[in-house]
Symmetry: C2
Subunit: 364 residues, 2 copies
């Protein structure tokens, strides 16, 4: 990677904050076990450094989405960690799952039959759908499975909440009841229902194991309430040029911004090709020396413009960094401005950023 | 890369279509020279294979956004190609530009002064702003430069249109007139104004050199008119599971989709972590065996659900691929459904796709 001095934009990832977030969830969920979801390259933050830091902090079970992600994570973590794969095995891949000691989540009767045949002695997880209608056994399929159990060593039975971020949704209690009834049919097998937001629905949702993802990375698991998680990412983009613009002049594509008064416009080296979503056009802004500067005009592929008229010239000059994400304006704030959720702000974070990992504090 | 048989989603990139698109633009712009813009990893499609195919077809000048992109492209193309860098040199990087024979676009008087001092004998391009207010010299700064020319070997003088995709916008002719007046002050230097859409504003916008990007990759340079460009990408996602859903059951996060009738729902292995934007939730769809299947519910991080009730069961079963982008529904169609532009659909294309490059036809 090139030196930070010539980076157009810098993404700092605080591994200590991720570990602190995991430890907070461990406390809240105890005595349930607390796994970590590191799919999608640890929500865009880098699966190898993130999972390594969590393993060092004591996390023993990691979830990814795909076989390829599982193989990459096995390489990063070595043999000790347990790695589960949400999407389950595609036909013909059972041997690779077994070879890398990856535990598949089996989502339908076809996967279950094939796993029992090809890899029965290797553990697997069972996914029962209780209201997502996405992956997992239907109630009928689950009943059939209990009647005629396949020869599989089950590591976990799990389900997934559809509305955990809305505590008042009636579907939460309905899913919990359905899942409790299912899990009661398999009393020897550990059960898991809650991801990040589900942990905050209370102890009755914790069962034997919780599976936080987004909350580890600073997304608020309780939208509308104060965020109990630490912010993990800081994103800054360098000012390339500052222009004095007259009143009435336009800025950017489509001449989308008209200057209401003379002012100074800073162009910074970040754009939607870096995952600074185009839906942030004319929304949100950045921070220079503690002062907010509004984003004006459209987000371009590689560039964004800010009105820096309120900032002294010596603080808003070429080379200075504008903070886009930090403690004052986090992933959920950017998501609200972009009309999406913090999860997508994270997974969109681009490949051109100069990435800096802040290590966790050494153990005491 | 893992074998295609176990890929959750496959992105096919037709290098022949990119070359055909470039050749069409060469014809339209002749006698002007036709460069190629390959910034942002060739708009997400892979800069090394794309630029290599274009160089083999005769393209001699390539534009990237940053120094790091320039260094990577020099490595891919070898010494023969000319490579220009839009964002210009950050302080202290002139020597690296020169070492890799990268031609910077100089955007402000500070960059110009430093380049004259540090790297004067190496060529550079001059960017004059005529209405973007993003990068480039202001009219006043340009006048000062003409009065006291720096010792720089100019390869090109360029500007950038703000509204080229809106032929009726009055700003187009105004920018052209301003740029013509500027270029007339530097009659020895080649001049360039038009990118993809600008090429279609007519010969008076072509000048000495055109710089297409998006049109090479299949984005329609004339929104609202028939697209003269060939589609370049085909994206397909594998069905992981198909579920029979009763009337009134809900699908996905937030229980956002309610089944109006009993039906079958297919869950496919693609999500917003792959750049299938979350703003496509409940918008657009896919194609199975020539029939459209609507996307229902919210786009998840790794999964998307489709209503496949209209497709025979044997054609919509686990393992089958759903086409998300292709000739019938291209990047501009997805952009319209997502509320963005085709450019962002391209640059968002994710890292988990299994990528297949279709080579250009051999020369005859």
């Amino acid at each position: 990677m090139s030196p930070v001095s010539r980076a157009g934009a810098v993404l700092e990832i605080d591994l200590g904050a991720i570990v602190a977030n995991w430890r907070l969830l461990v406390q809240i969920a105890a005595p349930a076990e607390c796994a970590a979801v590191v799919k999608a390259n640890a929500y865009g933050l880098g699966v190898a450094p993130v999972a390594t830091a969590l393993a060092a902090a004591g996390c023993r079970l990691f979830f990814v989405a795909t076989l390829d992600e599982g193989i990459a994570l096995r390489r990063a973590l070595g043999a000790a960690a347990e790695i589960a794969v949400f999407n389950g095995p595609l036909p013909g891949t059972a041997a690779e799952f077994a070879a890398h000691a990856l535990v598949p989540v089996l989502n339908d009767p076809g996967q279950i039959a094939k796993w029992a045949e090809a890899a029965g002695p290797h553990p697997a997880m069972l996914h029962v759908d209780t209201g997502m209608a996405r992956l997992g056994l239907s109630a009928r399929e689950f009943a059939a499975l209990v009647e005629a159990p396949p020869r599989i060593r089950w590591r976990l039975v799990m389900s997934h909440l559809a509305c955990a971020d809305q505590p008042a949704a009636v579907l939460n209690a309905a899913q919990r009841a359905r899942f409790a009834a299912a899990a009661a049919r398999l009393p020897e097998i550990a059960a898991s229902l809650a991801a990040s937001s589900g942990i905050f629905l209370g102890p009755s949702y914790h069962l034997d194991l919780v599976r936080p993802g987004a909350a580890l990375y600073g997304v608020n698991p309780q939208p509308g309430c104060p965020n109990p998680m630490r912010q993990v990412v800081r994103l800054s983009a360098r000012i390339l040029q500052v222009r004095q613009i007259d009143r009435g002049e336009t800025v950017g594509y489509g001449a989308a911004h008209v200057m209401a008064a003379p002012g100074r416009v800073a162009t910074a080296a970040v754009g939607y090709a870096d995952g600074w979503l185009r839906s942030l056009s004319r929304r949100g802004g950045g921070t220079i020396a503690g002062t907010r500067v509004p984003l004006i005009g459209r987000v371009s592929m590689d560039l964004v413009t800010f009105d820096v008229s309120a900032i002294p010239e010596e603080l808003a000059r070429p080379g200075v960094m504008i903070e886009l994400l930090g403690t004052g304006y986090g992933v959920d704030d950017a998501a609200a401005d972009a009309g999406t959720i913090g999860y997508e702000i994270l997974t969109a974070l681009g490949a051109r950023y100069h990435r800096v990992y802040r290590p966790p504090d050494p153990p005491q």
